[in-house]
């Protein structure tokens, strides 16, 4: 029974916070800001607790069991708190340098392969595929699209003749890419609205919908009344 009630309260809270957040669409208001702050606070708190639990389970517990290796990262991480000390701020830089160094090393070395050499290899395609016009056209678009987009960003010399044509082709390919990205982004945003509206149709969140409609109606009537009042006084 308690579990069921908790579920219903959860649905009601979720629906209520959704409507509070969406009230921003009418205009900036305190209710939407409260919903934003609750979201930020809850998400941050949840993240902090999980991170602390991870450190406790995977570093503090093994250290307590005698695995002294874990003392090194744990003590190093404590140096980060010297960020708040003007005198010993330099100590904060040591773990920061390690984090940046390791992070960059891990990403750059692997990224060179993943996003450069492997992508160049994937662009080396046959410009004519026998008995397959679909793939022939596809390969031509990929090869000349990549070349065109690269030449479009070549600024060391004025582009003329065939290089200009290729750069223009690259520009159109880029515009199509931006259009596709925008279309995908729109689809994603609509999916998010669908998800929230679906959650509002679940009982007991659905009882909030007429309440929200009444509140929006009151807000519109209030605004109209406020708009009319100064006009009358200006006329006098």
């Amino acid at each position: 029974m308690i579990g069921l009630d908790a579920r219903l309260v959860g649905i009601l809270l979720s629906g209520g916070l959704t409507l509070m957040a969406y009230s921003f669409l009418y205009r900036e208001n305190r209710v939407s800001r409260i919903a934003e702050h609750i979201y930020l606070g809850a998400a941050t708190g949840y993240g902090v607790v999980l991170s602390a639990k991870y450190v406790y389970d995977n570093a503090a517990v093994p250290l307590a069991k005698g695995n002294t290796f874990w003392a090194i990262p744990l003590l190093s991480s404590l140096l980060l708190y010297f960020y708040f000390s003007k005198k010993h701020f330099w100590l904060y830089r040591l773990p920061t340098a390690a984090i940046i160094g390791v992070g960059t090393g891990i990403v750059v070395a692997a990224d060179f392969r993943t996003r450069l050499t492997e992508q160049i290899k994937a662009t080396l395609l046959p410009l004519f595929v026998a008995n397959d016009p679909y793939n022939t056209v596809n390969n031509l678009i990929i090869v000349f699209g990549v070349l065109g987009a690269l030449i479009f960003f070549y600024f060391s010399k004025e582009l003329k003749g065939p290089t200009r044509t290729l750069a223009d082709f690259g520009k159109y390919i880029l515009m199509v890419t931006f259009g596709a990205s925008f279309g995908q982004t729109f689809m994603a945003r609509i999916s998010l609205i669908i998800g929230r509206v679906q959650s509002l149709y679940i009982w007991p969140a659905s009882i909030l919908l007429p309440l929200a409609a009444v509140l929006v109606g009151v807000a519109i009537a209030w605004d109209r009344r406020k708009q009319r009042t100064p006009r009358v006084s200006a006329g006098k």
Binding site: N58, V61, I106, A122, F186, M187, S191
Partner: protein
């Protein structure tokens, strides 16, 4: 010149809240009264389905939850659909999260598909929720090199005692990595795909799809395109759910925006042609 009574002027100065209201109606109405428009299945979704179908029973599959609550309406229906498929194929599922919000969605997926998570008799044998691993890409690299680096799962159980983790030595033991993400897949290709040769499937938001496409099909064997991809997968696994129910609303909203774009452009062109030179 356009006057205040002119329709092009009214169009240009329309209250954005009217557009918001129309958009809300276009989404809310089809959810109440669905039209039942057909949903075609795209090649990347079919590739994903076929790849999972081709995996031998008992293969280890990793579901990497790199998702936050903000993308749950798009990503969670995908998770529910493919977890159902993994269960039906009797594949072993290792759930791991690289975003702090990930473990709760991993837990939700187990409860929705298997009926229970940590209390299920198959927990630790057929599936496991390893929880959140802090550290971003460095954590991914560490986990790929040695998945047993995790000491405890999301529920505090010792991981080394669980049967599913016994045969693991590196990411090479994974037959598939499913990336559930709203931010990027490049990091997973860098740390799992290229160095360890793990096939990757992207269960991603629609925004992210244009960044996944360059890796398809060489590095990423298939991908689900947002809510639409989830709806396609629900059809393939014969488990109609909230994604399929939302497709009419998606189509109606897209149609409305296409009308807005056409009307807006017509208005713009008319205003421009009427303007004195």
């Amino acid at each position: 010149m356009a006057t205040e009574k002119d329709w092009t002027h009214k169009l240009a100065t329309i209250d954005p809240r009217v557009i918001f209201l129309l958009l809300l109606i276009s989404v809310a109405a089809p959810l109440l009264m669905p039209f039942g428009l057909p949903v075609g299945i795209s090649p990347p979704t079919t590739s994903t389905f076929k790849f999972i179908e081709g995996l031998p029973s008992g293969s280890l599959v990793v579901s990497a939850f790199d998702m936050s609550a903000a993308v749950a309406p798009e990503c969670y229906p995908q998770v529910a659909a493919f977890t159902t498929h993994l269960k039906n194929k009797n594949l072993k599922i290792i759930e791991v999260a690289f975003d702090s919000a990930g473990p709760m969605f991993a837990d939700q997926a187990l409860r929705d598909v298997f009926g229970a998570s940590k209390d299920h008799p198959l927990y630790g044998k057929n599936f496991i929720n390893l929880g959140y691993i802090a550290g971003g890409e460095a954590a991914m690299k560490t986990f790929a090199g040695n998945p047993k680096v995790i000491q405890k799962d999301f529920y505090g159980k010792d991981v080394k005692d669980l049967e599913i983790m016994q045969p693991l030595s590196s990411a090479r033991d994974f037959k598939l990595l499913i990336v559930i993400s709203g931010s990027q897949v490049d990091n997973f290709v860098r740390q799992f795909g290229d160095p360890h040769g793990v096939p990757i499937v992207g269960a991603v938001t629609a925004v992210l799809v244009t960044r996944v496409m360059p890796y398809y099909p060489a590095k990423v064997v298939g991908y689900l395109n947002g809510l639409r991809g989830a709806a396609e997968y629900e059809q393939l696994v014969k488990r109609p759910g909230i994604a399929l129910a939302g497709m009419d609303a998606q189509s109606a909203a897209h149609l409305l925006v296409i009308i807005f774009i056409i009307v807006g452009n017509v208005g713009y062109i008319v205003r421009k042609t009427r303007r004195p030179s």
